[in-house]
Amino acid sequence: MNIRNFIVGITMAFLTLSATTNVRADALDIFKNEKGIIKIAGGTAHIPVVKEAAKRIINFNPDIQISIAGGGSGVGIKQAGEGLVDIGNSGRMPSESEIKRYNLKVFKWAIDGVGIIVNPKNNVKTLSKIQVIDIFSGKINNWQILGGKNKEINVYTRNEASGTRAVFWKKALNKGKITSKANFVVSNGAMKSAISQDPYSIGYVSAGHIDKSVAPIAVDHVLPTLDNVKKGSYKIVRGLYSNTKGDPSGLIKKFIDYLLTPECQEIVRTKGFIPVI
């Protein structure tokens, strides 16, 4: 009896194990025997995840070619809508008019926050929401007012096409003004480089991009960590979306499906975002 149970147990375990490993291999298997090109453009926050996914797909099947460009969410939506690229990434939900105009299909595959960052050498660690609004509008222009050194605050902001900027402007600044003296950078990565090099800077970046080279600011005592975003205590959140013109088909559909597999969602997690599954 015991031996029989034991054998059944082992067989069940074995079957379950092989089933799960099959699911794992399946994730990339859909790309077997596929050929073609996938053109992706848009949000710069998405790039680490999309690049890793592309790498795995291409290593699995070298007949597939994937090109990835940045440019910001605006570019992603526009170019996908116009058919210049197959998948347009955006860090903000496309507007009603955009969806209608281009017949966009939107796919959300991660959740991200937008964090405010300063240089690690800066001793200012927390700000209130009002202070944030005043700093970015230029009203507060010296770190001394906030308890820091007597230096002018160098504000960095993103280019207009940026979804990160759109979300930050809406949710953190309540659609307030951004000072015209602000320096412009063109991507999340560029923002990070700028802030890490300028000791008197302040800017905003996708929470998934925050690493040791920059220091996050706690807004109303809440830091933009993954947990706080998940819990809902950090309010400046947004989803990472991929948009296609009309319903995706063929290779494009498979890529989008792949983004939503557990394997890819694991990539999402390792890159610092929150998976949706």
Binding site: N59, I66, S67, E82, L84, K192, A194
Partner: protein, 293 residues
């Protein structure tokens, strides 16, 4: 008996010279110091083995091989477009055109030469979008459009060097073949062009260098951050100067920054190489031509 003013001028000139030398040495020196350590196979090929990458069997990630391949394709295509047209235009201007026409044409070429590269890129992008909407769904900013724009960029240089080289041939040589009964065309192809070859070729080589280093045009017409080796002329591609620009503004760790330095050294080496070859060609061919006389 040097007056104080004279002394001052000598000192100022020397100061200028030293400042310029200082500037360029610190720039190149800084680059070499920071980047020389990054030059190894993994910079170019990432984790893929060099043989696989070169035979295009596997795509390279985290390496600048696709960017090098992209720049290479770009240069070949642009020069392929620009040289025939530029050569022909140069020949026309020096051999067939009357002085008034010459003046008008030269004026336009000067303008073309002076147009900022980003304006040409803007033109290329608009052209691509326009064609995409009205001609074919498959046209979008790509290798083809970029190389056409780069061809526009270097066209004035090729025309000018061809024209000037041809014009500089002394009267005696120009008239000799004609006096012997050759037609104008034969004169051009058998006498004039070979004589001015050094100038023309150095112009072409300098254009090659120009195509390899330009960033503004390709930024607007199809270069992307990740695309692998370009598989067709209607595809997106990577390029070395764009890679450097991209890394400089958005490196995520010191490794990537180092690769930026390494890529800069490689780009600098490529452009210096072309420059050096142009210089050699000009001297070599001059020597041969002289010797044959």
């Amino acid at each position: 008996m040097t007056r104080p003013v004279d002394k001052l001028i000598i000192i100022l000139s020397w100061i200028s010279g030293i400042m310029l030398l200082g500037a360029i040495s610190s720039i190149i020196g800084y680059l070499l110091v920071k980047g020389l350590g990054a030059i190894k196979f993994s910079l170019i090929f990432g984790e893929t083995s060099p043989v696989d990458a070169l035979l295009l069997k596997r795509q390279v990630f985290d390496g600048i091989f696709p960017a090098i391949a992209g720049t290479f394709s770009l240069v070949i295509l642009s020069v392929g477009f620009a040289v025939p047209v530029g050569l022909a235009s140069g020949i026309y201007l020096s051999e067939y055109a009357g002085p008034k026409i010459k003046k008008v044409f030269n004026f336009f070429f000067d303008i073309l030469a002076g147009i900022p590269s980003i304006v040409i890129g803007l033109f290329g992008f608009s052209m691509a979008v326009f064609l995409h909407k009205h001609l074919s769904q498959y046209i979008f900013p790509c290798l083809l459009i970029s190389s056409l724009c780069l061809a526009f960029l270097v066209l004035p240089y090729i025309v000018r060097t061809t024209q000037v080289s041809l014009e500089n041939i002394p009267e005696q040589i120009r008239l000799t073949a004609l006096a012997l009964g050759a037609t104008k065309l034969q004169n051009i192809f058998y006498v004039l062009i070979p004589k001015s070859l050094s100038g023309i070729v150095s112009g072409v080589i300098l254009s090659i260098g120009r195509c390899a280093e330009d960033t503004a045009v390709i930024m607007l017409t199809g270069v992307v951050a990740t695309a692998g080796v370009p598989k067709s002329i209607l595809s997106h591609y990577e390029a070395l100067p764009f890679y450097i620009y991209y890394i400089s503004s958005q490196y995520s760790n010191t490794e990537e920054l180092l690769s930026g330095y390494g890529a800069s050294i490689i780009l600098l080496a490529i452009c210096s190489f072309f420059f050096f070859i142009a210089f050699l060609v000009r001297n070599r061919l001059k020597y041969h031509a002289f010797y044959r006389m």
